[in-house]
């Protein structure tokens, strides 16, 4: 599935991520946790191609490093960015259709539209509305839905639960489980550690641009030192 080997990433000359190895298996949910400024978002952007990266970034054996960002959906990366970054003046439906921009199979796109509406029935009700009129939680659903419209093999979620109500947060993580059940691997960066651990199979802890620890959810949450240092619980 996703294999990162010795990945470094930089904004201009400032290197933020230093030689990261990371693996996400098929059908796996993997969380990337760590303090602010650890380089989590930058690492996700390296996978999406919107920062310059060195090293090897493979998806199902295909090397993506060096390929432009707009090719990544064709490799199978669905990226749901930090802060949602929807097309605010367009309708929910147009946002979702734009998610399928790199696809040519019209019938498959309609199928996936139904799949997204199945995951988030609220989006069907709001389909004709402009995104800027939606609540934060609904916008997040639209952002996840847009990323799913490329029919990704790997869904990358960057802080999906920021600023949304608890009830919608629950709905969102239910959807994450359902997406995983449908056979999509998930790489998740999330500040709500409890919620992240609840859906994850494995966890990476990132610190100052490097991977500090890696392990199964059980192993990491059993370690008292790690629980206190990273999870505050």
């Amino acid at each position: 599935m996703l294999d990162l080997h010795g990945v470094s990433a930089a904004y201009g000359k400032a290197e933020v991520v230093h030689g990261v190895d990371l693996h996400v298996g098929p059908g796996e949910v993997v969380s990337l946790l760590g303090p602010n400024g650890a380089g989590k978002t930058t690492l996700l952007k390296a996978i999406a191609g919107t920062v310059t990266a060195r090293g090897s970034i493979r998806l199902d054996g295909q090397e993506m490093c060096g390929q432009p960002a707009h090719f990544r959906p064709r490799f199978g990366v669905g990226h749901c960015p930090e802060g949602r970054r929807l097309f605010a003046e367009l309708s929910v439906l147009n946002n979702l259709r734009l998610g399928a921009f790199s696809r040519r199979d019209a019938a498959g796109v309609e199928e996936d539209l139904e799949r997204v509406f199945g995951l988030f029935p609220r989006l069907r009700e709001r389909a004709g509305q402009r995104v800027s009129t939606l609540s934060g939680g609904e916008q997040q659903m639209a952002a996840v839905g847009r990323a799913m419209m490329s029919r990704p093999k790997l869904l990358v979620l960057d802080e999906p639960s920021v600023g949304i109500a608890q009830r919608l947060k629950n709905l969102l993580f239910q959807a994450v489980r359902e997406i995983c059940r449908q056979g999509v691997s998930i790489l998740l960066v999330e500040q709500d550690v409890r919620a992240a651990l609840a859906v994850s199979d494995r966890v990476y802890l990132m610190e100052s641009g490097r991977i500090a620890r890696e392990g199964t959810r059980e192993a990491l949450s059993a370690d008292d030192g790690i629980r206190r240092a990273y999870f505050g619980m």
Partner: protein, 283 residues
């Protein structure tokens, strides 16, 4: 009555010019000072094809629009693309292109004014006013072209990509939209619109090396008044300016009509810097 009919014709030419100018700003954040050069290139391309190539008028004008669109794409690919990271560099290179085009045309054709034949001859009576048929055609074609552009942006897949990039270029990359190709396409479209204005209006204006300057200034003024990046704003401002100028030219004097656009820009920047329908301040 004459003011209404002739004002509508002027407005439509202004709108064609301003819509292209605002489109490339809205999508690629480029203030394209070579927009007037597109207007001049189209005028001379049509002139060469008709007077030196012996082409019939309509094919020559269509070809001139196509040539200018390709010129626009080339300008984007060759000159703008490597400098895209710096707004100031893009501003300077497009200014350089516009000067190079003007000087090149002066060297090749000398400074004298030339004329293009109209697509249709004769006069038509509208609302009791006799208007040259070419002017009426200009109005109709402009309306059709702007309507077609609107439909293209609202309804087509590429139009959706254009809107997406104008709203969030980074998010557009995440969904797989090839930004550079869209920028080149929009520059081509923008050039084609300026070229259409040129081949339509040149038969009743003239073709000369500096012909791009005034349209460039007008487009800039209109876009500031209407709001940089807003297509409806540009159309509205083009009409305001077109009708006001025609009114002043008729009832006061044509020298005063040239002052209006400048005065309107000053007023707009002082009162509402974002423009009539602009969402944010452009400067």
């Amino acid at each position: 009555m004459e003011v209404i009919v002739l004002g509508a014709v002027t407005s439509s030419v202004y709108a064609l010019l301003a819509v292209g100018f605002t489109l490339i700003f809205g999508v690629a954040r480029i203030i394209n000072l070579a927009h007037g050069a597109f207007y001049a290139v189209a005028g001379y391309a049509a002139y060469i094809l008709i007077n030196l190539g012996g082409w019939p008028v309509l094919p020559a004008m269509l070809a001139a629009v196509l040539i200018t669109a390709l010129f626009g794409v080339a300008v984007d690919r060759v000159f703008v693309r490597p400098l895209r990271h710096s707004h100031m560099a893009v501003l300077m290179i497009t200014l350089a292109i516009s000067m190079a085009v003007e000087q090149g045309l002066t060297v090749a054709f000398l400074g004298e004014a030339r004329s293009l034949p109209p697509l249709i001859d004769g006069k038509v009576s509208v609302l009791g006013v006799d208007v040259a048929a070419q002017r009426l055609l200009t109005l109709l074609v402009s309306v059709v072209l702007i309507g077609a552009l609107w439909l293209f942006i609202q309804r087509s897949r590429l139009g959706a990509a254009i809107l997406a990039i104008s709203q969030d270029p980074e998010a557009a990359e995440y969904v797989g939209i090839p930004a550079e190709r869209i920028f080149a396409l929009v520059m081509g479209l923008s050039a084609a619109l300026a070229a259409s204005a040129s081949v339509l209006a040149s038969p009743f204006l003239s073709v000369q090396p500096s012909m791009g300057l005034l349209p460039m200034v007008k487009a800039f003024c209109i876009v500031i008044i209407g709001g940089l990046g807003s297509i409806p704003g540009s159309i509205l401002a083009a009409c305001l300016l077109g009708f006001t100028e025609t009114f002043v030219a008729f009832h006061i004097s044509s020298t005063w009509s040239e002052v209006i656009s400048v005065a309107a820009v000053f007023a707009m920047l002082a009162l509402r810097p974002a423009g009539l329908l602009g969402k944010r301040e452009a400067f």
